[in-house]
Amino acid sequence: MSRESQSNILSLLNVLRHGDSFFPSGAVAFSYGLESLSSDGSVNSFEHIEEFIHSQLYGRWAGLDRACLVSAHTACLDQVDIKRLIEIDHIMDAATLPSLLREGSLRAGAAILGVHTKLKTPGVTEYREYILSGNALGHLAVSQGACFSGSGLSVVETEVISAHTLVVGLASAAIRLGIIGHIESQSLISLMGTEIEKIISLPAPEIEEAWCFSPVSDIAVMKHEVSEGRLFSN
């Protein structure tokens, strides 16, 4: 085997590891409004789940998460630019209306940063210290950008992993909520792969132009806040 194909295999394995739901990230606890929409009956079929995930990808991930992810990845390429990470975090925070989404994003960010700190991923410890001392926020997309950059993943790999783990997390939540089965979830993940490819083939928005529009899931998350019985934290 040539040296080049060996290194391709290693980078493929690296992508698989970070994109695997076995990677500890706390993702099982989050539904991004899906539990609330399922319990009020407005999402109860394959088509509904497809529409929901599609709207999460286009309405939230493509314009906001992706912008934050890509600029955080860039800010960590040579030397970690903490000031920049702090700025990106604030943009993410300001653009996320429901408090359970903000909290969820911070908790998921803390989870991934905690694991990468213990794994000694380069560049992560300093950012985490800023967060622990209250001087940075540590949202999920920003933390992913920092952790994946430090793990030697390219920007495109980082984007693919972030979008794919979002889709897998939602499909898995939909299974646990009893809306779809294991085969349907795989068709869904495959369908969404095409959408992820479409989104990533266009340039990522600049962080200053980050945007988000996901009113239905935002309202669902707000309703989740006061829900009595819940499996997921948002």
Partner: protein
């Protein structure tokens, strides 16, 4: 106070697992006042399955200051969040550690699960598994990893044995056999029977008090 720090700095961590309704929260309610009165600084994390009931019950119970109790949702995966992916629980515990710097001990109640649930030792230092007499005399015989691997097996609700037709002597013999010499304690969390024994284990094995 002399504390066990198996492989990390900070307070010791005890996991409490076991099937739904076996008495995990009741056990916490029984041991917390006794630990507090002997000067142990405590924090509690609960992994409620569907509601925030356990966290709310402990906060409202007046046993411990509500800000020392955190509920962590587990997305219907109670076993995942104590074993394969304990990250959110670790973050919750570390939050308590940062907020209450003199914490000695954190108790983590798992969401009710099956007999196969076990704790990651990256999450806790030592863990108990609570089963109850009402689930039937054949539970120990089923030898789930939870009741085999735990540091301390608790068989709770011994008071109800006459009502559920369980021969408590037979159950004791079988539980002790299955545990192969590892500790088993029989409790009634309602009247405190066996609780001093549980505390003695915690003091010796986790708080390392008589070392």
């Amino acid at each position: 106070m002399n504390l066990s720090h198996y492989h990390r700095p900070g307070p010791a961590r005890i996991g409490i697992g076991g099937p739904v309704g076996s008495g995990k929260t009741a056990l916490i309610e029984a041991i917390v006042p006794r630990l507090l009165s002997s000067g142990v600084e405590l924090g509690i994390v609960t992994n409620d399955l569907v509601t925030r009931e356990d966290a709310e019950r402990l906060k409202a119970g007046g046993l411990i200051s509500p800000d020392r109790v955190l509920g962590v949702e587990c997305g219907a995966c109670p076993h995942t969040v104590i074993r394969e992916d304990p990250t959110l629980n670790i973050e919750a515990i570390e939050y308590l550690e940062r907020t209450f710097s003199s914490l000695d001990l954190v108790l983590l109640e798992s969401g009710g699960d099956n007999l196969a649930s076990t704790f990651s030792l990256d999450l806790v230092d030592w863990w108990m598994f609570v089963i109850d007499v009402g689930a039937g005399a054949d539970i120990p015989r089923k030898r789930g990893p939870g009741l085999l691997q735990c540091d301390l097996l608790i068989v709770n609700k011994i008071d109800i044995s006459p009502h559920v037709g369980v021969d408590i002597c037979g159950l004791k013999k079988e539980a002790e056999e299955v545990r192969g010499g590892n500790p088993v304690i029989f409790t009634n969390c309602r009247n405190g029977e066996g609780i001093e024994d549980v505390l003695a284990h915690i003091r010796r094995c986790v708080l390392l008090e008589d070392m």
